[in-house]
Every structure is written in structure tokens, then in C-alpha cells.
């Protein structure tokens, strides 16, 4: 693997790390906002396991949404790039 390959892997790992921090930060915010509601759920008899599952499920939904959005972004990237590379003369002359 060349230097370029190693740099790419490091770069992707860095992006992944930042994404993980953003997700952790979002989760911390959600949990702190819902602290009282979580407490109420516990007084009503929710088990700790259920609270953990609710929190994880919410995380998974955020991740799935982010993944779907990034997939849409990536799939739109090539056509958008192609559009930007068009030769105006060729484009006007084409049927």
C-alpha cells in the first residue's frame, strides 16, 4: 500500500472518529433533555435494560437517517459533478 493509500485510510478514520463524536454528543444532549422523562419511565416500572434499548434504538434511527442521507448525497454526487463538467458548446448542440 502506497503513501496515498495510508493517508486515505487515516483520513477516513478521522472522519469516522468525528462522526462518532457528533453522534455521542447528540445522544448526550437527548439524554440530558429527557432526564426527567427517563426518571418518570423508571418510576412507572421501566427496567434499566428498557431505557438502554430505547436510547440505543433512537441512536440507530439517527445513524440510519444519516446513512440514508449520505447515500443520497453520494449517489447525487457523480451526476452533479458531470453536470458541472459539461462543455456548453457540446451541451447546446446536443439533442
Amino acid at each position: 500500500m502506497g503513501n496515498q493509500g495510508v493517508t486515505n485510510i487515516l483520513f477516513y478514520m478521522f472522519i469516522l472518529l468525528i462522526s462518532a463524536f457528533v453522534i455521542a454528543n447528540t445522544t448526550i444532549m437527548v439524554v440530558s433533555k429527557r432526564r426527567r422523562e427517563i426518571g418518570i419511565l423508571m418510576t412507572m416500572g421501566s427496567k434499566r435494560r428498557s431505557i438502554l434499548m430505547i436510547s440505543l434504538l433512537e441512536n440507530m434511527l439517527i445513524i440510519a437517517l444519516a446513512f440514508a442521507l449520505s447515500l443520497c448525497f453520494v449517489s447525487g454526487l457523480y451526476p452533479a459533478y458531470s453536470a458541472a463538467q459539461l462543455d456548453p458548446v457540446e451541451a447546446i448542440g446536443s439533442e
Binding site: 418510576t43 412507572m44 416500572g45
Partner: protein, 258 residues
């Protein structure tokens, strides 16, 4: 202190100590026995240990020493899962602030404890409707908390507390945020339920007017029960060892046991 059949909750020499280094004794050897169907008020100054005692009875907190018997079973050292199950099946809570989930409608909020207990949605919805009708909110089933008044929200919270037909309903300053009329309404509602279905109510309150309407008042000071008053006719009879100070605990029409 031996457990009797009609005792729903028995506390034996219960103590709770908070803090490392500087110890704060929130409860100091509290022993009390509450019978099924009793309507009890716990009163006392701020920081006296009322809420700590209520948290113990509600299995939200564990004692540093002593025992809690719920229906004759020692639950003081029960596992977190078992405590959660008991909170769901045997206990109902109403707090000073209603703590309803804002995104849910009144009926959905009432359904929550039943869904936690794995009851079907249809069954939970039916019972939720029944309960909301019983508390006079049959026409507000689909209103969200921000569309209801403070008193109405508190009535939804009462309905939610009754969802799984608990043995004991615990109220922590439940009328503290309400005006006199709404407080009276909530009290009458609880009293009616207490008489109709023999449900046990334990209320912590600063409101002596509310406390005087119950059957039994426990006064707690510095983590100890210093006085116990029981209703007799139109007034209250205080136990022999009552230490209420000059104000007699602010309870009207009090007499002493001879």
C-alpha cells in the same frame, strides 16, 4: 414489630444516610405500619426527610439499614428489576409537577404504565379511556399536556398512577402547584377512589388543610417520626409521645390519647 395480614407496608427501623465524610442522616430509625385502604399524610418541615421516606416506600431508593415489607415481603434488598416490577404493578406515583410526556396525548400518557407491563394496546387504550372518564376528562382524551390546565394535567397524572390498579398510590406534594379549587378537586377524587376501591394513599404535603382531611397524619422531624395523629370523629387524636412543639404541628382540633 410483627407483620399483620392487613398491613400493606411496614417499615422497620429504617435509616438512610447520605454523603461520604460528612454524613447526613435523612432517616433515623423510622418504624411505621400502614394498613390497606388507609389515607395517610406525611407532614414536616423542609429537609425533615419526608421525601426520602416517600422514596423508600415507593422503592425508588434503598435504605442504609432497616427493612421495608410490602404485602409481607421484604423488598428492602430487592434487585433493581424486581423493584421496577413492583413499582409497575404495586405502586402509583403522582408528583408535584405532573411530569406527563409532552409529545403524548392524555390517553397515551395513561397507557404508558400498562404498555410497560406488556398489556396489549387495545386493552391499555380501553382502560386509559375508563380512567380518564373517572377523573372527569372523558372529553379530553386526545389533548396534549400543553392543551390542558394544571389541574387537568394533575388529574391525568392521577389516572396514570392508577393505570395498573396499584395497591398503594404515593403523592409527593401533588397539590403544591395547584390553586385551592383544583387542590380540592384532586383531594375529593383521591378520597372517592380511596373509599370506592379501598386503595391506600400516602401523601407528602406541606398543606395542612389537605393533611387534616386524611385519616392519619405522620409528622416527621430530623428523620424521625415525632408524632402520629389518627382521625377520631371530627378531630385528631395524637399519640402519647407526640413532640410537636408549640404549634401542635399546626393541626386543628387535636386532642391527646390518655
Amino acid at each position: 414489630m410483627n407483620n399483620r395480614d392487613d398491613d400493606i407496608i411496614v417499615l422497620k427501623d429504617l435509616s438512610k444516610i447520605y454523603g461520604n465524610g460528612v454524613e447526613v442522616r435523612a432517616l433515623d430509625g423510622v418504624s411505621v405500619r400502614i394498613k390497606a385502604g388507609e389515607f395517610v399524610a406525611i407532614v414536616g418541615p423542609s429537609g425533615s426527610g419526608k421525601s426520602t421516606l416517600l422514596n423508600m416506600i415507593g422503592l425508588l431508593d434503598t435504605p442504609s439499614s432497616g427493612h421495608i415489607f410490602l404485602k409481607g415481603i421484604d423488598v428492602s434488598r430487592a434487585s433493581p428489576d424486581e423493584r421496577a416490577r413492583l413499582r409497575n404493578q404495586e405502586l402509583g406515583f403522582v408528583f408535584q409537577y405532573h411530569h406527563l410526556i409532552p409529545e403524548f396525548t392524555a390517553v397515551e400518557n395513561v397507557m404508558m404504565p400498562m404498555l410497560i407491563a406488556n398489556k396489549s394496546k387495545t386493552e391499555a387504550h380501553k382502560r386509559g379511556e375508563e380512567l380518564l372518564r373517572a377523573v372527569g376528562l372523558g372529553d379530553r382524551l386526545h389533548s396534549r399536556p400543553n392543551q390542558l390546565s394544571g389541574g387537568q394535567n394533575q388529574r391525568v397524572a392521577v389516572a396514570r398512577a392508577l393505570a395498573n390498579n396499584p395497591s398503594i398510590v404515593i403523592g409527593d406534594e401533588l397539590t403544591g402547584n395547584l390553586d385551592t379549587k383544583s387542590s380540592e378537586l384532586i383531594y375529593n377524587l383521591l378520597r372517592e377512589l380511596n373509599q370506592k376501591i379501598n386503595q391506600t394513599f400516602i401523601l407528602v404535603t406541606h398543606d395542612m388543610t389537605l393533611a387534616e382531611k386524611t385519616d392519619r397524619i405522620l409528622r416527621i422531624v430530623d428523620g424521625k417520626i415525632v408524632c402520629e395523629m389518627r382521625r377520631k370523629d371530627d378531630g385528631f387524636v395524637a399519640s402519647d409521645l407526640c413532640e410537636m412543639g408549640e404549634d401542635d404541628g399546626n393541626v386543628n382540633q387535636i386532642s391527646r390519647e390518655n
